[in-house]
C-alpha cells in the first residue's frame, strides 16, 4: 500500500484509488460530527440548527454569546471546577493502585492470575448503568452517595482497567533481569522500582493515566447516580444542557474541549517524533 508501483495494471490503479477514496470517506464519517459543532457553537440563536443567516455567512448570525455564557455562568464554572477537582484525584488513585497491581500481576507464578485479571478489568466490561445503579444503592448505605469521596471512588474504579491494560502491556516487554541486576548491585526494591522499572514502564503509566483521566472527565452515567448537586461535573451539566434546557453552550464547551484534545494529541505526536529522533530511530 506504500505507494503504487509503476508497473501497476489499470485494475490495480482503480482499486488503489477507490480504496483511498473509501478510507477518506470513513475518516470523514469519523470526523464530521466533530467538525459540525464548531461553527454551530458560534450560533447567535439559542437552538442547535444552522440558521439561514449562518449559511449566508451573515456576520450577525454568528456570536460569541455561548462562549461568554460558559465563562460567566456560575453553573458552568462550578461544573468545570468540579471536573477539575474530581478527575485528577480519581486518576491518581487509579494510577497508583493500578501500577502497583500491574507489577504484581507481571511477576512470574501469580496464583489465580486469570481470575484476578478478569476482576480488575470488569469495571470496563460491566454495563455502566449496572455499575451506576449498584454504586448508587451501596454508596447510599455507606453514606457516601452524593459526596466528593463517593464520586472519586467510583471514577477511580472505572479508570483502573485502563491503567491495568496499558501498564501490563508495557511490562510484557520488560526484561526482569534488569531488576535482578539492580538487586545484585545493592539497590533495595523501592530504589529499583523508581530507578529501573518506573522509567521503562512510564509510557504505559502515562497512557493509562490519560485514559483514566478522560474516563472520569467524560463520564456521565455514574456521576448522575452517585453524585449530587455539589459534585455536578462538566458532562453532567452538558447532559442537562442537552435534555432539560437545550442550551447551545454545550457546543461552545465541546469546541473548547476538542481544541484541547487536538493540542494534546499533537503535542504527544511531536514529543514521540522528537524522542525517536533523539534515540536515533528512523523517523519512518
Amino acid at each position: 500500500m506504500a505507494g503504487l508501483p509503476p508497473y501497476a495494471s489499470t485494475g490495480q490503479r482503480l482499486w488503489y484509488w477507490s480504496f483511498r477514496a473509501i478510507c477518506v470517506a470513513i475518516l470523514f464519517f469519523l470526523i464530521v460530527p466533530i467538525l459540525v459543532i464548531i461553527p454551530l457553537s458560534f450560533n447567535a440563536e439559542d437552538f442547535f440548527t444552522f440558521t439561514k443567516g449562518m449559511l449566508a455567512l451573515d456576520p450577525d448570525a454568528y456570536s460569541l454569546k455561548h462562549y461568554q455564557d460558559f465563562f460567566t455562568n456560575s453553573d458552568w464554572q462550578q461544573a468545570l471546577w468540579n471536573s477539575v477537582r474530581i478527575a485528577p484525584v480519581a486518576t491518581l488513585i487509579a494510577v497508583v493502585l493500578g501500577t502497583v497491581a500491574a507489577i504484581g500481576l507481571s511477576q512470574p507464578h501469580v496464583p489465580f492470575r486469570g481470575a484476578i485479571m478478569a476482576i480488575l478489568i470488569s469495571p470496563m466490561i460491566v454495563p455502566l448503568i449496572i455499575s451506576a445503579a449498584g454504586m448508587y444503592f451501596f454508596y447510599s448505605r455507606l453514606g457516601i452517595q452524593g459526596t466528593y469521596l463517593g464520586v472519586v471512588l467510583a471514577h477511580a474504579a472505572l479508570g483502573i482497567p485502563f491503567v491495568i491494560i496499558t501498564v501490563t502491556a508495557t511490562l510484557v516487554g520488560f526484561d526482569r533481569s534488569l531488576v535482578r541486576a539492580a538487586a545484585n548491585l545493592g539497590a533495595n526494591p523501592v530504589r529499583t522500582f523508581f530507578k529501573v522499572q518506573m522509567p521503562l514502564i512510564l509510557p504505559g503509566v502515562i497512557s493509562g493515566a490519560l485514559f483514566a483521566f478522560i474516563t472520569s472527565f467524560d463520564e456521565v452515567v455514574v456521576v448522575l447516580f452517585v453524585g449530587s448537586a455539589q459534585q455536578k461535573t462538566l458532562p453532567w451539566q452538558m447532559f442537562i444542557g442537552l435534555r432539560e434546557q437545550i442550551s447551545p453552550t454545550i457546543l461552545a464547551v465541546a469546541t473548547i474541549l476538542v481544541g484541547i484534545s487536538v493540542l494534546l494529541l499533537t503535542t504527544l505526536e511531536l514529543l514521540r517524533r522528537r524522542s525517536e529522533k533523539l534515540r536515533g530511530m528512523s523517523p519512518g
Binding site: I119, V126, S207, V220
Partner: protein
C-alpha cells in the same frame, strides 16, 4: 540405595525442592501483596455494590416485614379453595396494617404489590386512612366504662412491669424487632417502658400492641410513653382479649389499675362484637376479593423469583409460573432487539474499521500517526457532544437531509427519518465504538510482515487471492478481539440510545434506568440488570478464552 535417592540440598543444607518451593511461595506472596490493595479497592467500590444491587432482584423482605402475622396465617390458607382467609387472618391483617399505617409503611407495601397486581396500591392507601374507625368503636365504649381508659398515665401504669421478668423482656424484644423490621430504625436502648409479664399472660394481644406502640412512640416520635394515649388498635386488642379472657384470672389480678380492669371485664358483654372480616371489607371491598389475597400469598416470602420471571415476560400464578399475555410481553423482545442492534453496530464497525486499520498498518509511520489522530480525536471528544452532533446531522431538517434535498436526491417532502429510531442509534453508536474496533485490528495488522503478501504475489497469486488467503486469515484474532469488545460495550449502552433512539432504538439499559428512576420498581431493574450482566459476562468469558484479557490493546 538411600544415598542415590537422597534429596539434593541447597547451599544452606535444606532440600533444594523445599528451598525452591519456599522461594516460589515468597514470590507468590509478594505478587499477591502488590495486587491486594487494588483487589480490595475494586471489591469495595465496585463488586460489592453490584452484588448488593443484584440481590434486590430476589429480595422481598418488605412483605413479611410489613405484615408478619398476616403472612404467617396466610401460609395455612388454600388460595384455590374459593374461600377468603379465616377470621384470625383478618384480625392479624388489621393489627399488622395498623402499625404499618402509623409508621407510614403500608403504602410502600401497596406500591410494591402494585407491580404485580395493578390497583392494589389504592387498596392499601384507602385502608390505611380508615383503620382508626374500628378501634374507635371500642375506645368509646371503654371510655364509657371509666374515663381512666382515656388517660395515658393509667395505661402506662396498667401495662408496666413491677419487676424484672424474662417473659416480659421477650415480648419487648419481639416488638422491638417488629418495629425495627418495619421501619428500618434502630429500636435498641431504653424506652422507659417494660411490659408486665402478668399482663402478657392476662391480655396477650393488648400487651403486644401496647408494647409496639411504646417502642414506636419512643424510637420514631421521640415522645414519652407515659404521656401518650395509646392507639386505637390497642383498644381493639383489649376488646378481643377481654372477650377471650378467663374471668377468674382477671378477678384474681391485683396489680395497678385492677379495679378499672375488673369493672371492664364484668361489662365485657357491652363491647361491640366485631367481625373483622366484614369490617375490613367494609373499609375497602378489595379485601373481599380472593385475587388480592392470592397476590399477597404469592409474594409473601422473604425472597421471590417474581422479579426475575417478570424480566423474561413471565408471571407467578397460583398454578406456577406462566407466560404473560401477549399484550404485556416486552423484555424478551427488548433483549433480542438489543442483541440485534448490537450485532448490526459490530458489523458496521468491522466494515468501516477494517480498511482504516489496514491503511494505518501499511502507511509509513509518520502519515499513519496523523491518521491515528483523526481516529483518536472522536475517542477523546465527549460522548454527549458526539451524540448531540449526530442529532443535528441526522434530523429531518438537519444537515444531511438538507444536502440531499439540495442535491436533488430526495424531494423536500420525502426527507429521510434517520433519528429517533433504530437508524439513529446504529449510526451514532457505530461512530462512537469505531475506535474500539480499529485499535485492536491495527495492533494485529502491524505485526503481519508485508513480505507474506509479496511472497504470495510472487508465487502467482492475484492481489485478491493474496489478501484473502494470506493476509485476511492472520487478522482474524484482531477481528475477534475488536468484535467482541464492541459488542460487549454496545449491549450495555445507555446514554446514546436514550438521546437518539426514539422508541425503536432503545436498549435494555434504558429500561433498567427507567425502572430505577421513574417507575421505582428497583427489584425489576435489578432482575433485568442480572440478565444483562449474565450475557455480558458470558461474552467476557468467551473473549478471555479466545483473545485473552491480556491482549486487549488500547492504542
Amino acid at each position: 540405595m538411600s544415598e542415590a535417592n537422597a534429596p539434593m540440598l541447597a547451599a544452606d543444607g535444606r532440600p533444594l525442592k523445599k528451598s525452591l518451593q519456599r522461594a516460589l511461595r515468597a514470590q507468590k506472596l509478594r505478587a499477591l501483596l502488590l495486587i491486594a490493595p487494588l483487589l480490595l479497592f475494586i471489591l469495595l467500590s465496585f463488586l460489592l455494590p453490584i452484588g448488593d444491587m443484584l440481590f434486590r432482584s430476589v429480595e422481598n423482605q418488605i412483605v413479611p416485614d410489613t405484615l408478619p402475622d398476616t403472612v404467617k396465617d396466610l401460609s395455612e390458607w388454600d388460595s384455590e379453595s374459593g374461600n377468603l382467609p379465616d377470621e384470625a387472618t383478618f384480625q392479624a391483617l388489621y393489627f399488622d396494617l395498623f402499625l404499618a399505617a402509623e409508621a407510614k409503611q403500608h403504602s410502600r407495601l401497596g406500591s410494591r404489590l402494585n407491580y404485580e397486581r395493578p390497583g392494589i396500591s389504592s387498596l392499601f392507601r384507602s385502608t390505611g386512612r380508615r383503620l382508626d374507625d374500628l378501634g374507635e368503636q371500642y375506645q368509646d365504649v371503654f371510655a364509657g366504662f371509666d374515663p381512666s381508659w382515656e388517660d395515658a398515665g393509667f395505661w402506662f401504669r396498667l401495662m408496666s412491669a413491677q419487676g424484672d421478668d424474662d417473659a416480659a423482656r421477650d415480648v419487648l424484644g419481639a416488638e422491638r424487632n417488629r418495629v425495627a423490621k418495619l421501619t428500618g430504625i434502630d429500636t435498641g436502648g431504653d424506652i422507659g417502658f417494660v411490659p408486665s409479664a402478668t399482663m402478657a399472660e392476662l391480655l396477650p394481644r393488648t400487651t403486644r400492641e401496647y408494647t409496639a406502640f411504646a417502642v414506636y412512640t419512643v424510637k420514631d416520635k421521640n415522645d414519652v410513653v407515659a404521656e401518650e394515649e395509646p392507639w386505637e388498635s390497642v383498644y381493639a386488642a383489649l376488646g378481643l382479649d377481654l372477650e377471650a379472657a378467663d374471668p377468674s384470672a382477671i378477678a384474681a389480678y391485683s396489680g395497678p389499675g385492677a379495679e378499672v380492669l375488673k369493672a371492664a371485664a364484668l361489662q365485657a358483654g357491652q363491647l361491640p362484637v366485631i367481625d373483622y372480616r366484614q369490617a375490613m371489607i367494609d373499609i375497602d371491598e378489595g379485601w373481599g376479593q380472593e385475587s388480592n389475597w392470592q397476590t399477597l400469598k404469592l409474594y409473601s416470602g422473604e425472597y421471590t423469583n417474581g422479579y426475575l420471571l417478570n424480566a423474561i415476560d413471565m408471571q407467578k400464578t397460583p398454578e406456577g409460573p406462566e407466560l404473560k399475555p401477549e399484550k404485556q410481553r416486552i423484555y424478551i423482545k427488548l433483549f433480542l432487539r438489543t442483541m440485534a442492534l448490537s450485532l448490526a453496530i459490530t458489523f458496521l464497525c468491522f466494515l468501516l474499521g477494517y480498511p482504516i486499520a489496514f491503511l494505518l498498518a501499511t502507511l509509513p509511520l509518520r502519515t499513519s500517526n496523523l491518521i491515528m489522530i483523526l481516529v483518536l480525536l472522536p475517542f477523546w471528544t465527549s460522548l454527549l457532544v458526539r451524540t448531540a452532533s449526530w442529532k443535528i446531522l441526522l434530523q429531518q431538517q438537519g444537515i444531511i437531509n438538507d444536502l440531499l434535498v439540495w442535491a436533488g436526491i430526495i424531494s423536500n417532502s420525502g426527507r429521510l427519518v434517520m433519528i429517533n429510531n433504530a437508524t439513529g442509534t446504529i449510526i451514532a453508536m457505530t461512530h462512537i465504538l469505531l475506535p474500539f474496533m480499529i485499535l485492536p485490528l491495527y495492533s494485529v495488522m502491524k505485526t503481519i510482515p508485508p513480505s507474506y503478501m509479496r511472497a504470495a504475489r510472487s508465487l502467482g497469486a492475484t492481489d485478491w487471492t493474496a489478501f484473502w488467503r494470506v493476509y485476511f486469515p492472520q487478522t482474524v484474532p484482531g477481528m475477534g478481539a475488536g468484535a467482541i469488545l464492541v459488542f460487549i460495550l454496545s449491549i450495555g449502552y445507555y446514554i446514546t440510545p436514550e438521546l437518539v433512539g426514539g422508541t425503536s432504538g432503545i436498549f435494555i439499559s434504558n429500561r433498567i434506568a427507567y425502572h430505577i428512576s421513574t417507575s421505582l420498581n428497583w427489584g425489576l431493574a435489578a432482575a433485568l440488570a442480572t440478565m444483562l450482566l449474565v450475557v455480558v459476562l458470558a461474552l467476557y468469558w468467551i473473549y478471555d478464552k479466545i483473545v485473552g484479557i491480556d491482549n486487549v490493546k488500547l492504542g
